[in-house]
Amino acid sequence: MASGREFRFGIMCSHAASATDFREKARQAEALGYSTLFVPDHFVDHPLAPMPAMAAAAAVTDTLRVGSLVLGNDYKHPVVLAREAATLDLLSDGRLELGLGAGWMTADYEKAGLDLDRAGVRIDRLEESVKIVKGLMGDEPYTFHGAHYTVTDLDGEPKPVQQPHPPFIIGGGAPKILGLAAREAAIVGVNANLRGGVAISDDAARSMTGPATDQKMAWLREAAGARFDDLEIQSFVGFTTFTDDRRQLAEMMAGSFGVTPEEALETPVVLAGTLEEMIDDLYARRERWGMSYVVVGVDVIEQFAPAVAKLAGT
């Protein structure tokens, strides 16, 4: 069962006040027992570019894993991506987790002047990319003729340290993307459905209620079949708030997102309450959904650390 997995934790870090600040954050994450430092990939609001930031974090730490959560597939050609990912895996001595998504944030596409194709096309392209990246990391020259990319007899360089390839993280909130994750990923992010093109909306919030998450897990389980037990289920907790009165907070959040207070507390994108309440929620979510890999924002790196100390590796 996926739910039998040990807990591990990641930090999402999209910005740094300075080079020194970033290095300290990476070292702190390692010292506090976080498994992984993640960097997102957007052209707005998230300043750090993922590849160089992951490289820098790996360079100043020894055991911390580094990951992308997630790279927008449309922003880089998969041959470029494969080469960068393999270089990073090699130079970090095998500490990369390669998160790759179909791309969803409308602003990214608008700013850079990229065509925002419909979701089905973007997911098809992502699937081809995943195959290409894996193919180029293999031992033999690789050829791929897809609807979106063509690679001919290319022997990818360098080869990654992790064999056959670094773990892929694929996340999403709808059947097609979860189906792809079930087939190709080692780590599956169970996320909101972001078809609206923005991170925070009533639609996205409604898609992450407890029952909606049950539905996503059912899609994932069905698509994964026998592979399901091999998957590590990840949840990114975008809203982590420490409070002695979580009921009051839940009522405020409920008003903002068009859900009930109970739904606000139940959704896996929220952790609200005392540390003890959060720990109880994490156990419950692992039991219900198999979510053992929990990512929180860098703003709570210290406050959340006691939960990491208690749960990581258990």
Binding site: D45, P47, L88, L91
Partner: protein, 313 residues
Amino acid sequence: MAHDRKFRFAVQTGGATSAREWVEKARKMEALGYSTLYMPDHFIDTPFAPMVGVAMAAEATDTLRVGTLVLGNDYKHPAVVAKEFATIDVLSDGRVEAGLGAGWMKSDYDALGFEYDSPGTRIERLGEALAILKGAWGDGPFSLDGQQYTVRDYDGIPKPAQKPHPPILVGGGGPRLLRLAGREADIVGINPNLRAGEISRDAVHDSVAGMTKQKIEWVREGAGDRFDDLELQIRYFMASITDDRRALAEALAPGFGLEPDVALESGMALVGTVDECCDQLARRRAEWGASYVVVGDDQYEAFAPVVARLAGT
């Protein structure tokens, strides 16, 4: 005047076989007095992806500058490139040199399954990409409605540590590209013309001394008044410390279809004893203004005495 510039030296390196070797290599370059570690950008026969290698090298060193020689513009969208360079510049406390070229190696385009457009199209795209880099690195949102790229109200993040932006290095060998470099870059690489899409006799013949002077004239035409602000760079592909430069030239020159004397004076060759190489570099700075010297990573240890003598002078 460009030729009053102080010498500085760089190494172009494609990578290493391990993380440890890479870190040690970067530190050694720093210790030997090299200014800059540059990485090329190819998909065949080059071990590392440059942006990742460069970011790692910066973390492993304190003062070494890091850059690309050069990124193939077509391989990544300029909004991505701008963001990555700016991130490395912030994380290295301002040590980035952002090198870009129009893309030339046919095998790269084959690897990516990309069209190998005409040089004019590739150079037009590079020109627009440079505008996007500068726009993304500058204050406030900018837009570009180009022939090749469209960028709308993009306020690039992060902003680089170096102001107004990291030095932009553009290298090339033909008139259109060198005029563009003169107009837009801070550092101009005077390279062989690689119109053949591979390193060929054509490229070597294009590097003879007379052609190098001609190329610098093209840079000057593009630069106008800003010519004196430019740093001129040469990557010496045929670089060797030897007691017998004549013998080496005679051994190598026929392979390139050149007379030995012509080969030795070409803009690709830096061959001789330490004294001879220093003299040659001094002459080239006086004559061409080329003060920024790049060697390959098979030669940087051998050239350390040259660096020790000339860097910063």
